[in-house]
Each structure stands twice: as structure tokens, then as C-alpha cells.
């Protein structure tokens, strides 16, 4: 049953160009994130249009950019954050966990743990009432979300009560995230990363 759900989830998420990998513990997830970030192009805004013909004032946003790489991980618990910082330091990557507004020009990577997964559409549910957590999943170029497999549900029918309970219990900002940010507004050609992340990586954490 669960295996079937994981298979459906993986197929659906991959169909909208998400990268899906399995990890057996949080440490592996952190290692994956740091590795991907390390392999990423040096200029963190390259993908996002820094080299393109943007207007002078839009280019000014780049002043925040110093060529360093940043991973935003405001939602991680203390242990995971410490672990991430240690790994990141080895590769000269900075970890930020607050004040993300400053990074409106872009972040290399956002890393967070999702609250639920919906298999029928390959969707992740993230409770992000915290502004920093929200911004980390929007301003980044690569969004990495860890989903504990125990939090996987078949779809909205099954998850409906849990979702409603979250809304009733103070979850002011709840996001369903499926694949990367996308548009087809010019000639109906699909382009990823129009406002939010250009890539979504999902790490299925086999936690039971």
C-alpha cells in the first residue's frame, strides 16, 4: 500500500519535472543538498537572468550578490541546522535561517521539511506561516523539500481532515507545492522558474 503510494507520488512528481530521491536519514538529505549546491554554477543568479539584458535598475538587485553561495534553511530543527552548517562550511557555502527578505535577488537553495505529501498529484504540503520559511521556498533557485514517508497520503480526499485541522489550528499560510514554478504564457511554451524555484528536488525520507 505504502509502496504503491510512493510509486504513484514519484511518478506524478517526476511528470512535472521534479527530481525525486530516497534518503534513509536526515544526514543523507543534508549531504544531498550541500552536494547539489556545491555543483551548481558559481554565480548564484546565473539561471535567474543575471547575464541577460535586464534593465539597469533590475540589475542593481545584483549588488547583494557577492559570488558566494547561500542555502536558506529557516525551518530546520537545531540538530539538522547544525549538521547542515558543518557540511556547508566545508564547501564554502553560507547557511541562512532568518532575515530572508534581504535575499530577494535570489538564493541558491532552499531546504525544508514538508508536512504532508499527496501521492495522486505528487504534491507537497508545507505549513509556512513563518515568513522566512515561505521566502526560502520562493526566492531560491533550487528548492529541496524532505518528505518523511510516514507523512504521505493518497490525495486530498484522505488528507482533507488533516488539512482542515491545520487551518483551524493557526496555520495561516499553507502551501501545496507541485513541481517548480512554471509558465506557458509566451506562445504556450513551458518555461520553468518564472518567479519561484527553477528546480524542485524531493527527498523521500524513509522514516519508519
Amino acid at each position: 500500500m505504502q509502496e504503491e503510494m510512493v510509486n504513484t507520488f514519484t511518478a506524478k512528481a517526476e511528470a512535472v519535472s521534479a527530481v525525486v530521491r530516497k534518503v534513509s536519514n536526515m544526514q543523507q538529505a543534508l549531504e544531498y543538498a550541500v552536494k547539489i549546491c556545491d555543483e551548481k554554477e558559481a554565480c548564484r543568479l546565473l539561471l535567474a537572468g543575471c547575464e541577460l539584458a535586464v534593465s539597469n535598475s533590475a540589475a542593481e538587485l545584483c549588488q547583494f550578490s557577492s559570488g558566494e553561495k547561500f542555502i536558506a534553511a529557516p525551518g530546520l530543527d537545531r540538530d539538522a541546522l547544525t549538521g547542515l552548517q558543518a557540511l556547508a562550511k566545508e564547501r564554502d557555502i553560507k547557511v541562512v535561517s532568518s532575515g530572508l527578505r534581504k535575499y530577494a535577488s535570489g538564493l541558491d537553495m532552499g531546504l525544508a521539511v514538508a508536512d504532508l505529501g499527496l501521492a495522486e498529484t505528487g504534491t507537497l504540503v508545507l505549513e509556512c506561516s513563518s515568513e522566512d520559511l515561505r521566502l526560502s521556498t520562493m526566492l531560491c533557485e533550487i528548492n529541496i523539500l524532505v518528505l518523511p514517508v510516514s507523512r504521505m497520503r493518497t490525495g486530498t480526499d484522505e488528507a482533507e481532515e488533516e488539512l482542515a485541522a491545520m487551518m483551524k489550528n493557526g496555520s495561516a499560510y499553507l502551501s501545496f507545492i507541485t513541481g517548480a514554478s512554471r509558465t506557458a504564457d509566451i506562445e504556450r511554451v513551458l518555461a520553468l522558474g518564472v518567479h519561484g524555484p527553477l528546480e524542485l528536488h524531493i527527498l523521500l525520507w524513509e522514516d519508519d
Binding site: E60, L174, I177, S181, R188
Partner: protein, 717 residues
């Protein structure tokens, strides 16, 4: 946005749109790709069941709109949201401008909202000296071009990458590449700056859940998340019809919305806002959140027995995606603010009669929109109803009054038809049975296809001589010929009689007092006349005592079966007769295949390749798809061709009123048939025969066009 004031101007705008090759090609590709994309997205799901559930759920919500609003308001206010109710566009704009003043906001970033388009919010806020930036890529593009959207979901679908590159050159003062991916990235950077500067974010909402006071926003780009996060003030503008009692209802709509809109199982982002969330640029660390609910006629509409279904609309845009007229003329000529079939309907209620008058006439009544609608809205029916309503309000034009008057009187109508033949004779090519040339007042723009002359003897005048004698009948069939078969193509009914007479012990009758089915009157907005002819037909067949009422005309059949109950709803003393009548109506192809179970042994099957054109009112109106194809295949080799179910452009009087559209639809139909390598095409409707045969004759193409009854009768052993 439609500019024309009269039909003449509208027609010339349409001609112009038809010359827009880029738009034509884009919309063609889209129309074809959409079909597959949608089918894939829904695969394995029970679509009719889902549509029914949505219709019911929306109807329930609409019935308690006021209560839901109260409940929502209490919940949201308890969380610290300011909730407003705006009676109309003006008030909504004032409320939002007031919020901006109160919080000293000057720079607005906005995510896509059709409701904001409806009230022309940007114009109102700009007058206040505010700067508004649309952040949805398509909306931003059209905002920069100072244009309205041309599609509800893909607002800039009418533009090419080159036009976008030119536009971005102006915006950035830099030379731009026309590579789409690069253009998207440029937009990403340009818009990031706007989010940083903005002090107010404006969004719409797809759902407003009363039990929790939550808003649901469905987007792909993720711009709505930034719009609702970065600025310190958030204003959501929400139509009252978006209220649902529970999250469950919203999740139900969410199952259909992306699938029907873009063929996605879900959009990249669905965002649920329940009260103000953390906002670090606001003084107290909490977002200032206002929700403005818009009435603008919705409350009144929600209690209208017929028109309340408009408010079920979930704005998926599918009714435009499948509309053959939209596909040709594009959104700027097929809607005011709201586009496509639903746009034709809502324009009247949200923007007034003046904006709606021309639009509602430009529907060919093909039913494609109704079939695809996620909320089960009877769009073509409502379009006709609004047309009729406008005529009632403004007075009926003499031409339509005359038609109504004539149609109500069967004897007069039939006498005129008989006499018309004599009027036509001087212009007729007797052998080929086409009108050779007509005085130009009748023929303006009509010469894209040859028009038939009336038959020398109408079917009703031949009936006595062709009626088969059946001694001990077990089944009685009443033949309903309809005007086109009766007076133009009696040979089609003669063929049908021959085929049906092969069935054992089937008696046939052609009740003398039958008359026009009334659809043409309805199409012209003459509801009274349509009702009167309906009554006459029901009477005519009641006395004949037939078990089935068989027709050769798909449009007549669909109208007799499904149009009559609507027209005559609640008419006292008629309920039983009406039901007895409509239950018996059946199209010819279904009758011979499913009731007679006609034997292949009766026919000489040839190897001739024959195509099929599927009449709108047969495939969608009656949902008859297999029978005619199977019947053709009994006698010839049936060869499928592209887009068999797309309208041929006839549409009765539509082709007379909108010749450019009719002409272009016909051209597409003929191109698809030609590409199929066939020598003949069968169809189950005299109107389609008239249109396609006339087109083939005018273009000198050697493909025969016949009614399926004729194809069958010709091959009887």
C-alpha cells in the same frame, strides 16, 4: 475587448481577426493539443460524475451565499482580517483605494484576478496616483501593452515571442533575444524588483472557505505567493460566488480546475491563507489583511432560477478552448472582460446590455462549450436566453418579428415556402439544383458556398405516393422531416423511408400537421414563436400514435428532445404529452442500428472510402457517436478524418449573419476532409449537407456529400 457598436463594425473586426495568421495558427494548435491534454489529465476519472458533484456543490453554496458570507466574515474577523462587502465595481474600487490611503501604499504588485479585471481596478487605482504592476507573466505583458486579456487562463495567447521581445526592449532599454526561456528570465528579474518595492499586494481568490475563513489561490508561477508575502498590506478581491461551506468543497473544485484549464493534474502552487500571517515589513510583524467581497449583481443572480448557474463557473477557460468561433477570432473579439462562452453570458450581467448585444449573436450553438464545462453550465442555452432577453428589452428587429409571425402559422409558412421556389427559379441552375446567382442583397458574403434551390415537390406533398403499405404493423414510426429535409432535400427522407421499410412490420407515418421544429426562431431570440411551433408539433404527433419519432436532422432531434422540455417547462396540461413526445424522439442512424438492428445482409458493401462529418447536435446534443459511423461502414469503407466533431460552420441562420466565421469554419472542415483521401462524406444532418456540399461545389472539389440515409439506401440490394 470588443469595440464595435453595430453588427457591421463587428463583422469587419472579425474579418480583421481572421487575417491574423499568428493568432489563428496558435489557437488552432492550442485547440488540438488541449483536447489530448485534458483527456490525459482526467484519465481514469469519472468526469460526468465530477461535473455533477461540482454543479450540486456550487448550487448549494449559491443558495446560501449570504449565510456563508456572514460565517466567513466572523471567522476571518476573529483572526484579524478586515472583511468588506462591495455592492458594485465602483464601491469595490473605492474600498481598495481607501485601504491604500489609510496605509500609505503607493506601489502595488498584483497577481492575476479576473474579478479585478471585471471592475477595472487598475484604472481606478492609477487615477489615485498609484503604481500597479501585474506579476503574472501574461498579465504583465498585456498590461505593458495596455490590452485586456484575450483568454482567462492564458491572457497573452494572442502574442508571439517577437512581440514580447519588442515589448521587453522598451521596458529594459536593452536589445532582447526572442528566445522564450530568456524572455521569461528577464521578466523574473524585472518583476523581483517590483516585489521588493511594493507596499501592497492585491490578489484574487479561487475559493473562500467559510468554515475556516480561508482563501485558496491556484497559480502556476508562484507570483501569488510573493504578492501575498512581501508587501506589508494584502488585499484580496473575491466574488461572492467563490464562497464554499467547507474545505472539502474547495478541494472538489480543485480536482477539476487545473485539469480542465490546462490539462494539469494540479497547478504548481495552491496557497491557503487563513488570517494574517507573519510579515516582517509590517510594524507589528503581522500582515495587514483585507478581503473585499464583490457583489456586482451576484446576490441577485444567485436566486435567479435559470441564470444562477452562471455563478457555478470556476473560471477554467475551457469553454473558450473548445469554441470553434473563439478559435478563429480570438478573445478580443469573443468577450468583453470575460472571454469565451461564459464571457458571452456574464458580460450582460456584469457589464451591461450594450457590451453584450453583439457578442451573444456570435454563437453558432455547437454545444462544444457545454460539453466541456467543469460546472455543467448550459452555456449555449443561456446565450440564447440572453439574446432573447435583449430583444425583449430593446424590441425585436422587423426581420425576426416577421419570421416569428410566419412560423406561428404553419399553413402560411408552408405556403410561403412553396411559393419561394417560384421566386427562386429565375436564379436557379435547375439541373444541379443550386442557386446560380441571387440579387446581391441576399448574397452578401454568402458566395463562399453554393446554396441549394428548393425542391420541386416537398416531402409532405410526396408522402402519399411513397408511403409503404404495411398490413399488420408491430411498430409505428412517425417521421419528423424538419424544414430543410421537407422543402430542400426530400430525397433524404425518401431514402430513409426505403431503409426503414426493410424492417419487419414497421409502419411509417408523416403527420401532416408537423411544422418547423422552432430552433431557428429560438436562435433569433423569438421564444414565443419557438414555443408555439413546439406545441403544434407535439399535437401533430400525439394523434399519430407512433412508438418512435425519427428525424434526419440532428438539430431538430436535439431540439425536440431537450429543447422542448425547457421551452415548455411548467405549461399546464402539457406535461404528459410533452414527455411522451420527447421520449420517442430518435435520430435516424440510432434507430436503424439500435432499434431495427438492421442486417448487413441487406446491403452491397463497396470498397469506396467514405468519411464522416459529425453534426454538433448529434455528437454533443444527443451524444450519438458510433451509430452513423457504423452505418456508413455497413455500405462503404468508413475512413476517419481529422476533427470530425468540429462544427462545419452552418449553424442555421448563423451562417447568414456571420458569413466570415461560417466561411472559415467550412474551409477548415473541407481541408480536413480532403486530407482524408475520401471520395464521399456522409453526415446525419441536412444543414451540414447544405453547408459542406455547397462548399465543395463552390471550390470544385470532387467529394460527394450525402446524408447517411442516402448512402444506405443507395446500397440496398
Amino acid at each position: 475587448m470588443l469595440n464595435a457598436d453595430n453588427i457591421k463594425e463587428y463583422l469587419s473586426e472579425i474579418e480583421e481577426a481572421l487575417q491574423n495568421d499568428f493568432q489563428r495558427k496558435t489557437l488552432d494548435t492550442f485547440a488540438v493539443a488541449y483536447r489530448t491534454g485534458r483527456a490525459n489529465a482526467f484519465s481514469g476519472m469519472d468526469i460526468p460524475g465530477l461535473v455533477k458533484d461540482i454543479a450540486r456543490s456550487k448550487d448549494d453554496s449559491l443558495a446560501e451565499m449570504d449565510e456563508l458570507y456572514q460565517q466567513f466574515k466572523e471567522k476571518a474577523q476573529a483572526l484579524g482580517v478586515h472583511v468588506h462587502l462591495a455592492a458594485d465595481a465602483k464601491q469595490a474600487n473605492e474600498i481598495i483605494a481607501g485601504i491604500a490611503r489609510e496605509h500609505q501604499c503607493r506601489n502595488v504588485v498584483k497577481s492575476k484576478s479576473m474579478t479585478a479585471e471585471e471592475i477595472h481596478l487598475n484604472v481606478a487605482l492609477e487615477k489615485e496616483g498609484m503604481k500597479i504592476v501585474e506579476t503574472d507573466l501574461g498579465e504583465w505583458i498585456i498590461q505593458l501593452r495596455k490590452e485586456p486579456p484575450s483568454h482567462m487562463v492564458l491572457p497573452a495567447i494572442h502574442l508571439s515571442r517577437y512581440q514580447v521581445a519588442d515589448l521587453f526592449e522598451k521596458v529594459t532599454s536593452k536589445k532582447q533575444d526572442s528566445d522564450i526561456f530568456k524572455l521569461v528570465k528577464v521578466a523574473r528579474r524585472e518583476l523581483r524588483r517590483e516585489y521588493v518595492q511594493a507596499d501592497m499586494g492585491i490578489s484574487g481568490a479561487n475559493f473562500a472557505v467559510a468554515e475556516t475563513g480561508s482563501l485558496g489561490l491556484v497559480t502556476n508561477e508562484g507570483n501569488a505567493r510573493l504578492v501575498t508575502t512581501l508587501p506589508r498590506v494584502h488585499v484580496a478581491l473575491v466574488g461572492l460566488e467563490k464562497l464554499t461551506p467547507k474545505l472539502k468543497d474547495a478541494l472538489l473544485l480543485l480536482k477539476a480546475l487545473p485539469r480542465n484549464a490546462t490539462g494539469q493534474q494540479i497547478t504548481s502552487y495552491v496557497t491557503w491563507l487563513t488570517g494574517p500571517s507573519e510579515c516582517k515589513s509590517s510594524a507589528d510583524g503581522k500582515k495587514v489583511m483585507h478581503i473585499v467581497f464583490l457583489d456586482n449583481g451576484r446576490r441577485k443572480l444567485s436566486s435567479d432560477k435559470n441564470f444562477s448557474q452562471i455563478l457555478r463557473c470556476i473560471r477554467c477557460g475551457a469553454c473558450a478552448n473548445v469554441c470553434p468561433v473563439y478559435r478563429l477570432v480570438g478573445g478580443h473579439k469573443y468577450g468583453y472582460v470575460y472571454i469565451g462562452a461564459i464571457g458571452l453570458v456574464t458580460t450582460y450581467f456584469f457589464h451591461g446590455r450594450d457590451k453584450a448585444r453583439l457578442l451573444v449573436q456570435n454563437c453558432i450553438n455547437c454545444g462544444a462549450c457545454k460539453e466541456v464545462c467543469a460546472a455543467g453550465i448550459d452555456l449555449p442555452g443561456l446565450i440564447k436566453d440572453i439574446h432573447a432577453r435583449i430583444l425583449d428589452e430593446e424590441g425585436h428587429p422587423p426581420r425576426s418579428k416577421l419570421l416569428a409571425m410566419v412560423l406561428k402559422n404553419r399553413r402560411l409558412f408552408h405556403m410561403l415556402l412553396r411559393n419561394m421556389r417560384f421566386a427562386q427559379l429565375p436564379f436557379a441552375d435547375a439541373k444541379a439544383r443550386y442557386v446560380r446567382h441571387l440579387p446581391s442583397i441576399f448574397m452578401k458574403g454568402q458566395d463562399f458556398r453554393k446554396l441549394p434551390v428548393l425542391a420541386s415537390t416537398a416531402f409532405r406533398d410526396k408522402w402519399k405516393s411513397v408511403k409503404p403499405n404495411v398490413s399488420r404493423p408491430k411498430l409505428k414510426v412517425g417521421l419528423f422531416s424538419g424544414c430543410a429535409v421537407d422543402f430542400i432535400y426530400p430525397e433524404q427522407m425518401e431514402a430513409a423511408v426505403k431503409v426503414i421499410s426493410k424492417g419487419k412490420s414497421i409502419a411509417q407515418d408523416h403527420p401532416e400537421k408537423q411544422t418547423c421544429c422552432g430552433l431557428p426562431a429560438l436562435m433569433m431570440g423569438e421564444k414565443d414563436a419557438a414555443r408555439e411551433t413546439a406545441r403544434q408539433n407535439i399535437e401533430a404527433f400525439a394523434s399519430s400514435g407512433s412508438d418512435y419519432i425519427v428525424t434526419l436532422c440532428a438539430s431538430c432531434a436535439a431540439h425536440l428532445k431537450y429543447g422542448y422540455p425547457k421551452l415548455l417547462e411548467g405549461e399546464k396540461g402539457l406535461e404528459q404529452k410533452l414527455k411522451a413526445f420527447t421520449d420517442k424522439v430518435m435520430d435516424f442512424s440510432s434507430f436503424v442500428r439500435d432499434v431495427m438492428r438492421i442486417s448487413p445482409m441487406l446491403f452491397r458493401k463497396t470498397v469506396q472510402k467514405v468519411g464522416y462529418h459529425s453534426p454538433c447536435h448529434l455528437c454533443r446534443g444527443l451524444e450519438v457517436r458510433e451509430a452513423p459511423r457504423a452505418n456508413i461502414n455497413l455500405v462503404h469503407e468508413y475512413v476517419p478524418t481529422a476533427e470530425e466533431e468540429v462544427c462545419c460552420g452552418f449553424g442555421g441562420s448563423y451562417s447568414l449573419n456571420f458569413p466570415p466565421v461560417s466561411r472559415t469554419l467550412l474551409a477548415g472542415k473541407m481541408a480536413n476532409l480532403r486530407a482524408g483521401g475520401i471520395s464521399a462524406v456522409g453526415t446525419d444532418c441536412p444543414g451540414c449537407v447544405m453547408q459542406i456540399r455547397g462548399g465543395m461545389a463552390r471550390a470544385g472539389i470532387d467529394i460527394e456529400v450525402k446524408h447517411v440515409a442516402e448512402l444506405m439506401a443507395e446500397q440496398l440490394k
